[in-house]
Symmetry: C2
Subunit: 501 residues, 2 copies
Amino acid sequence: MKERAWHDLQGRMAELRDLGAIVGLLTWDQETYMPAGGGVDRARQLAALHSLLHERLIDPAVGDALAVLEGETDLGEARRAMVRNLRWERDRAIKVPSRLVRELATAQSEAVEGWRKARAEGRFALFAPHLTRLLALRREQADAIGHGGERYDALLDGFEPGMRVARLEPLFDQLRKELGPILQRLVEAAGPKRWEHERHSFPADRQWSYTLDLLADLGFDLERGRQDRSTHPFTSSAGRGDVRLTTRIAEDNLLSAVFGTIHEGGHGLYEQNLPAEHMLNPIGTAASMGLHESQSRLWENLIGRSLPFWQNQLPKLRTYFPEQLEGVGVQEVYAAVNRVSRSQIRVEADEVSYNLHILLRFQLELALLRDELPVDDLPGAWSDLAQELIGARPVDDRDGVLQDIHWAWGEFGYFPTYALGNLYSATIHEKLGQDLGDLDEVVRSGGLTQIRDWLAARIHHKGRLCDAEEIVLQATGTGLSCEPFLRYLRGKYSGLYDVAI
Amino acid sequence: MKERAWHDLQGRMAELRDLGAIVGLLTWDQETYMPAGGGVDRARQLAALHSLLHERLIDPAVGDALAVLEGETDLGEARRAMVRNLRWERDRAIKVPSRLVRELATAQSEAVEGWRKARAEGRFALFAPHLTRLLALRREQADAIGHGGERYDALLDGFEPGMRVARLEPLFDQLRKELGPILQRLVEAAGPKRWEHERHSFPADRQWSYTLDLLADLGFDLERGRQDRSTHPFTSSAGRGDVRLTTRIAEDNLLSAVFGTIHEGGHGLYEQNLPAEHMLNPIGTAASMGLHESQSRLWENLIGRSLPFWQNQLPKLRTYFPEQLEGVGVQEVYAAVNRVSRSQIRVEADEVSYNLHILLRFQLELALLRDELPVDDLPGAWSDLAQELIGARPVDDRDGVLQDIHWAWGEFGYFPTYALGNLYSATIHEKLGQDLGDLDEVVRSGGLTQIRDWLAARIHHKGRLCDAEEIVLQATGTGLSCEPFLRYLRGKYSGLYDVAI
């Protein structure tokens, strides 16, 4: 009975993974090569696949097989993890009526259009009805999935399995208390001389060649993946042998492509090093969005914005841009890529203020889902909170409440995973330093694949065998904590800005 | 009852079309952008989709809905065509056991690998066991589908609905009798002075720009489609707003890209002009492979290899390649693109010998499926028949029996559609000349979109409302016939070679 249930489930898990990979590929194509005329058909094709995935997941036969296997005591670690993950995914799917799934899909499409228009005109009012509708649907979804009184938990759990508001709040309170004063002192300090790279023009084809060179340095396997251009950089996977990154190239902004590539490269390395033997079951996926983000942020910030990284890369970068980089020293570049400011835009924020942007969003979406904040009051609440947390108000809604696409996608509960990623990345970075000896020297000498291999063995290969925090705990001896991140910030920025923080 | 059956069937037809479009996109991606490491996963993803398509098609509910609707007498033309097409497709699917579908898929993958290896080493023996296996499976499939004593008919019908061997044979006999002597006389004639374009180098980026320019001239809508590069040119559609062509660029062979682009452009125009209102049911597909091929061959040959076409295009082409085209006159180009020879390679064959290459393959695969020719004797039979039909033997198997990939794909019964395409293309061309007045003048003055519009209205918009021959008959007044094609050849080549044929 057990083996029959097992055999049946394996085929079903493989099909679910294949359909998921196909969704990924269609979405990638939509953002890269699809001609304008393909949009309507593509939306319908994706909806058909999502319906199919939902149908397969809620098939009673899956429930029967799971029930048989859950009754077994000798499944072994891997099979237990498969059953647990599939159960989690199925429970989330089966509790939500198909009607709600369809309504959400429609509302999301329309909201994205509404958001684009609202953003173009800088008028929140054009987006407000969409947001109201999406919030109503998400409240309904959260209540259908079930929660212990905190709706937000049901949504957060979809991105960060096991995470709860009650767990986040003390961490975020600590970040708020500590980061505000650090930001204050750094903004007041003069800071080192920076390279004003925006004054130059960097030909697109040379930027492109350099970013591919850089991906190879990180250990991203270009035989098992590729890079293309898109408006907004992202990573998508159609299998661990087919991982697709995108980047954006602006000729007046070299660093946009460089850090975009490193960031997506970090996501890509995770996808390329998921456990090969579990690619056809739910273990072969990232443990959480927070852990995924920890990989991109680790590479982008803790490695990519470090002095040894630029000591290693600047000579190579100079071969691509000899004129633009003439006379530019590594300290200038290091200062340029670590400029701290009270910026209004999350995606351009420095390491110090970034988490404050997340805290702002978390607090607002929590209030929205708790029915404590009417949608019409959102822009004002955003502005007040930006003043309170970051120390500056956005000049308009475009730079404020309309800046991110996430709420237009109907994603509430996603933002915290960025902050979790930052925290995990520092914890992992500290342990990397202990395990690899002189990490600065490893980076300075271009030994980035040593870092990749460590991450692959300790993080990536685990897939979803256990939850994100458990993986980090096993890898580093430390669970979720603000301390390593705060230590990292203090160590780096007190030196860079020559100020006590 | 009828409306309920209808409503149910509409959803199912739409899903089938969407899944089909997704298969097309995944295949396109496999041949264009997929990294090497994605191959294994992609094969499995495609197999999963094919299984799913098969499962949906043979769903008893589809049979029930069809049965209800087939009992109705007042369905109207479009609904009758939908029911007829879906019944045809479903009957072909349901008669073939799932086991055989899977075995065929595996055998095809392995045969393609075997063929590549055999071709690289020039050893047919490496491919023979694969071919034997595929033939056995196709015989089984043909017998499962059913036929009136001629197995080949069951396979041919899959590419050219309604076509039968008994219908092809007299046409092909006539072609054989007429084309041999024409080829003989043209090969013996000196022919006009040709432009030896292979002596020049044509930069890839300029070829690329020109081919895009050319597609726009043909009336291919680049907002509803795109062109990319691949090893072998092909056309794929993910919807009439997302039609994808590929071409190949060789710097030492300008004409390869030019005619590849025109050919695929012809296929692409068909896909872009299928009936919009039927894209979510089986009417919104090409009526047959032969009719599809008639569109590509019409544009490539009857338009693209005509004198007025080059009178129109040469000045523009000269702006892309001023040095390479210095002193080259339109008559030289016209002669170069219409050189007749006893070539061994089908895809490089001229208009006169092309059909002889098809006759050769048709005769051999018919003998194979009738168990009249052992696989081991195939290379010898090929060589003898090449001598008999084309007047020359291949120097080795690479240029002979191993030159095409079709048999490695397990496609027997496909080749005749190329010849049917040639015949239909001439029939359509003749009628075009009658309807558009001075066709030469239309082409010379660059009015190619007039041709596109005529084809769209008379051929493309029909989709699968009726079968290919009926569409051509309605459009031109002539059904399947060799006469227009032979008239076209005689008219063109007697002038070009100044010889009576």
